[in-house]
């Protein structure tokens, strides 16, 4: 059986004896003439994790979560309640609590019907069972041995492996029933290297909505170990980072976290409807240099940020946010799309049944340009090459954003020279992309480890970009004197 709806019915509804007439009753309980939209979101998720440290498998855990969130919307008002008991009485109580947002009651019955799933970006399988436990343990040991065998300066290695199967089923007020079975895997490696009393750390890893065979293919997991060691050894040689505003070349791939922070959040529908984003009211205005095109694309097969449907049952989209430098689109969930008179874009996401959906990114990246990365480095007389990054943060209203380099080098006379310590970079979202003077031809997506936090809710996301030259970003090192 590979139909997501059938799988979701079987794994969530059948064990607790809930049928279509019950779903119908819940939707009716949520509805009234004053309610504009309502939905019930069922979720069942299983997570298994393993952790290796000091060369031994030290810990592992298994987590099972299930529940349902019930939402009723009237105008801009949302009533919400959830239950971790999937039992009609508890769910009806939650529906009554959610509907209390609007007075009155008595809605026409609806017919529950499944919409045929058209998209198949990942298989509805359980990645936890895609490899037996002994083989997972063996994989962690091989990653550990690879990292330790590379260099005697490697002192500590920590490896973790997580596999999740998340099954969701959404019933909307029109009776439409949608489901998605979402696999997610992730491997992380942290390395501490030491030389002459100096210690430095680095981390690497990757993930996807695929089975664990992906980690084994092409020595991928061992590659993450090698990458973590390489970065830790580079950091052992790093000198102080410079301080001040300078030309910065950003590497391809994960440094696309720049886009996520600098413009992505500012283009989410909720902030723009409320007028609290630095990008509010700026549709059709130039917000980036010519040649800069940025999309949010939930339709990439197997990617960490991809979704067949979002958490409101809307099919995922590839939404163009910036086209050749001009702001052309926002990311929307149903509520904000309706209130702004726009179409939902498949960006309605929630951390779990116990959280309300809101507009969130999926995979956000800049399309490739035509400059060779070598040519971009060679064009800089004096500046910083930021090859890799940690996380970032943005103030949506003022537009100020930061992101922190984890691997960086000085550029002197068009050549990459000495490595420098990680430093925070700061800029202004509506302004930074206007300073992009060269876009590389080497578009790369990140390895699949990104998690985005907003209003206390975490969701998996992807980012990507080609090598970029930005004329004027502030680098927060200590090397001023």
């Amino acid at each position: 059986m590979t139909d997501s709806i059938a799988l979701a019915r079987q794994s969530i509804l059948a064990p607790v004896g809930l049928g279509d007439s019950d779903l119908d009753r819940l939707i009716s309980a949520l509805s009234s003439p004053a309610i504009d939209a309502a939905d019930v979101y069922f979720q069942s998720s299983r997570l298994q994790s393993w952790m290796l440290e000091d060369g031994i498998i030290k810990d592992g855990s298994f987590n099972i979560e299930q529940g349902a969130g019930l939402r009723a919307i009237s105008g801009e008002k949302t009533g919400f309640a959830y239950s971790d008991e999937l039992e009609l009485g508890a769910l009806t109580k939650a529906a009554d609590a959610a509907r209390a947002i609007a007075r009155g009651g008595g809605a026409a019955p609806v017919n529950i019907g499944g919409a045929p799933a058209r998209r198949r970006l990942y298989d509805p399988m359980n990645p936890i069972e895609s490899l037996d436990d002994a083989a997972k343990i063996d994989l962690l040991h091989r990653v550990d041995a690879e990292a330790r065998g590379m260099d005697t300066r490697v002192k500590e290695v920590m490896v973790s492996l997580v596999a999740v199967q998340d099954t969701i089923l959404v019933v909307s007020d029109d009776g439409r029933l949608n489901a998605d079975v979402r696999p997610l895997i992730r491997l992380s490696v942290v390395v501490v290297a030491e030389e002459n009393g100096r210690r430095e750390q680095a981390h690497s890893g990757g993930g996807a909505r695929l089975d664990l065979g992906w980690m084994l293919a092409e020595d991928r997991a061992l590659g993450f170990a090698r990458e973590a060691v390489r970065q830790a050894l580079v950091n052992l040689e790093a000198g102080p980072a410079p301080a001040g505003t300078m030309t910065v070349v950003l590497g391809a791939g994960w440094p696309g976290v720049l886009l996520h922070e600098a413009i992505g959040h500012g283009l989410e529908g909720d902030f723009n409807r409320k007028g609290t984003s630095a990008f509010s009211g700026r549709l059709n205005e130039r917000v980036a240099a010519k040649g800069v095109t940025v999309v949010d694309d939930g339709t990439l097969p197997g990617r960490r940020g991809s979704l067949n449907i979002d958490d409101e049952g809307t099919e995922s989209h590839c939404t163009t946010l910036i086209e050749d430098g001009v702001l052309v689109g926002y990311m929307q969930d149903r509520l904000n799309a309706r209130l702004m008179g726009m179409q939902p874009t498949g960006n309605g996401r929630r951390e779990s049944y116990a959280h309300l959906p809101m507009p969130r990114m999926t995979n956000t990246y800049m399309r490739a340009g035509n400059h060779d990365p070598g040519e971009i480095i060679a064009s800089v007389e004096h500046g910083l090459y930021a090859a890799n990054f940690g996380g970032g943060q943005v103030d949506i209203t003022s537009g100020k954003f930061t992101f922190s380099a984890s691997e960086a080098y000085l550029i002197e006379n068009g050549k990459i020279s000495q490595p420098v310590k990680g430093a925070t970079l700061i800029g202004n979202g509506p302004d930074v992309l206007t300073r992009v003077s060269m876009v590389g031809n080497d578009l790369k997506l990140d390895a699949g480890v990104g998690t985005c936090g907003k209003d206390g809710q975490s969701v998996p996301v992807g980012v990507g970009q080609p090598t970029l030259r930005v004329d004027g970003l502030t680098v927060g090192g200590t090397g001023a004197d």
């Binding site: 393993w50 440290e53 031994i56 498998i57 810990d59 592992g60 855990s61 298994f62 987590n63 099972i64 299930q66 529940g67 008002k77 949302t78 009533g79 919400f80 309640a81 959830y82 239950s83 971790d84 959610a98 209390a100 947002i101 436990d133 002994a134 002192k155 500590e156 920590m158 501490v192 210690r199 750390q201 301080a243 001040g244 505003t245 409320k274 007028g275 609290t276 116990a354 309300l356 103030d395 949506i396 209203t397 003022s398 100020k400 954003f401 930061t402 922190s404 310590k421 990680g422 430093a423 925070t424 970079l425 700061i426 502030t474 680098v475 927060g476 090192g477 200590t478 001023a480 004197d481």
Partner: protein
Amino acid sequence: MANLATADTTEQLQRLEQSIDRLLSEAKRCGATAAEAVVSASTGLEVAVRMGEIETVEHTRDHGLGVTVYFGKRKGSASTSDLTPQALEDAVAQACTIARHTQEDPCAGLAPAELMARELPSLDLDHPWGISVDGAVRLATDCEDAARAQDNRIINSEGASLSTHAGLKVYGNSHGFVGGYPSTRHGLSVAVVGKSGDEMQRDYWWTSARAPEDLEAAESVGRRAAERTVARLGGRRLGTRRAPVLFRAEQAAGLLRHLCGAISGSALYRKMSFLLDQLGEPLFPVFVQVQEDPLRPRGLASAPFDGDGVATAPKTIVRDGVLQTYLLDHYAGCRLGMTTTGNAGGVRNLSLRMGDKDRAEMLQALDTGLFVTELMGQGVNNVTGDYSRGASGFWVENGVIQYPVEEITIAGNLKDMFKGLVEIGNDHDFCGSTTTGSWLIDKMTIAGE
């Protein structure tokens, strides 16, 4: 062992204690040589209003259980939100399956029985608030109204929200220890947007407490959010320079958290700390005294026992600038050849002895430099102590605020920053489990234009 609780919560506590019993006996039945479990239940209400209208009304109701089984020196864990007897059994079975694959770890196991909390002191943490949805909406509205009325440059709002949560938590292990207690937490917060020309700025304020009567008044929370927001308007950048930096008390509390991260057991045994082998060494100037009081009545981080069941007690972390203790749970203690300090689950209610200068006097002491009121980004390296973060605040000359600044970074190394602490203010002004005044640090690198 439940401490002061109403009849209703007493009954609920007993139910959760029964779940613990069931988990532990099931673990024993499966052959585990030791086990520990934690079970929790909570309910709550969260109401948000924006521009005078209700935005969301959320009713929350959560359950959770976690169980860890030990087979000699091997362990496995499982967790679930389902507290039915079948789910308890399944969770134990899952944990046992995991433990078949983990390896012997000489330090794995429960903390020694003699360290378990014997009596649970009453910490006065349980103050349920029977506020209605309408009542909650009214308070949140009052708060937002006060913020919007404070200044005509406040032109928009992200809304105000009021939350109230009541929960129960019970921990038990195969030493025979079972302890549980109810606690509540209430909060009110608001964020508003100010505008001047094309520039928009946002800021917020909040209050949080165990008892509703300890919350700051709604109007006061609103006014402070508005004051903080309009103070940011007209923000400029600074030229790159080195200068003294005054961290507002809220941001200084963040520096204390970095200290705690670096002296925590897990960072130390992994050698992922910039404060290795610093016990008994001076980290700060002699006037610095840091205390932890996990038993503070109504404290936001108070707890009678830690995550291992070990009794908590007040202690001195820094005396006369010298580091007195690490923060260890049982496992990290064993790894370091030391004894747990009752810090499984973290540090609880830190306080730093404040000096005698108020805000204005601290600005005088800063003289000419940067007054930091917000920090952004994750640029703190716990292994090296390297510190580089986005900042905003105010440029100060001769003790007087000149103008707001933004889009700059401040950088240094935490070890140097701790040593370079010149003075601590008495201007503690925020809610939270950490109590400190502002910190004046002698010199940092500011990067800007």
